[in-house]
């Protein structure tokens, strides 16, 4: 009853959306077909021009390529050249009230990549960067995929069920297989739902991202090769991070109704003013955007000859969305070539991988709820955890269980299930409880004294002014 639909020599595939999910799907489809020895045409439709600086040429995100993803991509032969990596990240600094703790991984290497998705911030006269998305698109093109720089307006089926696309007045197709990789764009989603024959419901939330101009020296001096994560800065702000990139700092806020007010409160908080340069003009912020974050996909995002991938399909909760796009794009390509492109084939193979990520998101929810509900509210527990992490930094890498759990939570490097397992190791919980009790009486753990960093900066500035008399 369930007939498979196979891709063969001369089959045509259309991919709508040239973000990471679209590019990875094209890349692996072409690579696997090449290995097997079948010739399949792959067309990628992408509406954006990634050489334009600012929001118009960018798929907005924090821009962290996780440690595990950098390694997986490299072993696939997909490397991130220096021009794409704006900064290598080596450590995480957690800020909570007066407390700061630095977490470094066991391997002393700047393995996490901070990237721009497009050509970088919209700053007059600023340099144009090489973004991740155009880099991946180029790799897909090099594998033989064809990029069509057009927006797809209408998706339809012909009488035999094959797919027809329309960009403006121009028609494309028929295609044997259609991949939906348009992210969370509502208009594109509506076209796909029509073609799937059922709605695809997502749970989403809005985030706020903007780029703060610091200058390269100040980035070096104040942010170093660290990503800065903020816990419980004020009510309503769920998560905040500052990520160094070139001469900018990317500020990423998730919470209830993120907007200018939230951003101003955040920038004026003691945690942030302590971290950033004292002479910083925070209104020198350039480039702001309010992207949607996919929290949950509720249905099976496929039908015969059509499948959604990346943010428009299933993704990972909060962290490593690009990594999820890579894993599921590859799984989709493998399913399409080796099994087929019918709903039945996706049920049996692609959906299983999607489910793995969805299930793991369940564990992720436990971690984040614990963080939201308990750890952030109860300050002795929070400081207890920070204290445990701080004490662990003296131990050999493999023994830093709580630190590794925090590292993996914030970097998105490991499945959430593994993180929970690590937190629940015997000894770890009891140490946290002990340190929480200590925190009732002792002052919160403090990091390196930021005053000295500031004084060194002012001395540096003074010297520079002396050497350039006006």
């Amino acid at each position: 009853m369930h007939e498979s639909i196979h891709l063969d020599d001369g089959s045509r595939v259309a991919i709508v959306g040239g973000g990471p999910a679209g590019s990875f799907t094209a890349y692996f489809l072409r690579e696997i077909c090449d290995r097997v020895g079948i010739e399949v045409d792959v067309d990628i439709f992408e509406a954006k021009d990634f050489s334009k600086p600012g929001p118009a040429g960018c798929n907005h995100c924090g821009g962290i390529v996780s440690e595990s993803l950098v390694q997986m991509l490299a072993s696939e032969g997909i490397i991130l050249p220096d021009a794409v990596v704006q900064r290598g990240i080596q450590a995480y600094v957690l800020h909570s009230g007066p407390a700061t703790v630095k977490i470094t991984p066991p391997v002393n290497e700047k393995r996490i990549a901070a990237i721009y998705r497009g050509a970088g911030p919209l700053a007059p006269g600023g340099p144009v960067r090489q973004g991740l998305d155009p880099h991946l698109l180029r790799l897909a093109e090099r594998k033989g995929a064809q990029l069509i720089n057009r927006k797809v307006h209408v998706i339809d089926r012909d009488s035999s069920g094959k797919i027809l696309l329309q960009c403006g007045q121009d028609r494309f197709g028929p295609y044997d297989f259609l991949v939906g990789a348009g992210g969370l764009s509502e208009a594109t989603k509506a076209q796909f739902e029509k073609c799937l024959g059922h709605p695809v419901r997502h749970k989403t939330t809005r985030a706020l991202i903007y780029e703060l101009y610091l200058g390269e020296q100040a980035v070096d001096h104040f942010l170093d090769h660290s990503m800065h994560v903020f816990l419980q800065t004020f009510k309503g702000l769920e998560f905040a991070a500052i990520i160094p990139k070139g001469e900018y700092a990317t500020v990423c806020l998730v919470g209830d109704d993120p907007g200018k007010e939230m951003a101003d409160t955040f920038l004026a908080s003691q945690e942030v003013t302590r971290l950033l340069p004292p002479d910083l003009d925070i209104y020198k912020r350039v480039c702001a955007c309010k992207p949607l974050l996919n929290l949950k996909t509720l249905d099976k995002p496929y039908a015969d000859r059509v499948a959604l991938v990346g943010d428009s399909g299933v993704t990972r909760l909060y962290k490593d969305g690009i990594g999820a796009a890579y894993r599921l794009a590859k799984s989709l390509a493998v399913t399409a070539v080796f099994q087929g492109v019918s709903a039945h084939d996706f049920d049996n193979f692609y959906w299983k991988k999607c489910r793995q990520i969805q299930k793991d998101n369940g564990y992720g929810e436990i971690i984040f709820n614990l963080g939201e509900g308990v750890i952030k509210r109860v300050s002795p527990l929070r400081y207890g955890i920070l204290r445990t992490v701080k004490n662990e930094q003296q131990k050999p890498g493999r023994k830093r269980f709580m630190s590794m759990a925090m590292w993996d939570t914030f970097t998105g490097s490991a499945p959430y299930k593994d993180i929970i397992k690590r937190m629940l190791r015997p000894g770890v919980a009891s140490r946290v409880v002990f340190q929480s009790l200590v925190s009732l009486f002792a002052p919160p753990p403090r990091g390196e004294n930021n005053d000295s960093v500031r004084r060194a900066w002012q001395a540096l500035q003074g010297r520079r002014e002396d050497s350039h008399p006006r």
């Binding site: 490299a74 072993s75 696939e76 490397i79 391997v107 393995r111 894993r327 590859k330």
Partner: protein, 105 residues
């Protein structure tokens, strides 16, 4: 295992008669991949040629991912196959040279 992200490295053998250069590797190339599968000590020495950015791939994490997605091992198999082809050619060349020497004797 190590993978070059940017720049180039020299691979050579250290011997009593000085270093014997083997190959120059560039972006995307890997080395030390044999250590993923054997416990033998490293067989060659690698130094950066100018500035190079080299990524360490964690053995345990990588082997685990190979279990989830065996096709990840494909590129390593491909590299090793290529290397065997080169070695075979080298060997037949050496055998020819040896045969010529023997004829001369």
């Amino acid at each position: 295992m190590f993978i070059i992200q940017d720049g180039e490295v020299n691979v050579f053998l250290e011997s009593a008669n000085g270093d014997i250069p083997l190959v120059v590797l560039g972006p995307g190339d890997m080395f030390g991949e044999m250590s993923m599968f054997t416990k033998q000590p490293r067989t060659a020495t690698v130094t950066a040629k100018g500035n190079a950015r080299v990524l360490t791939v964690d053995k345990r994490g990588f082997l685990r991912r190979i279990h989830e997605d065996p096709s990840l091992a494909f590129r390593i198999l491909q590299k090793l196959s290529e290397r065997i082809t080169v070695l075979n050619e080298e060997m037949s060349r050496l055998q020819e040279t040896l045969a010529q020497y023997e004829k001369q004797d």
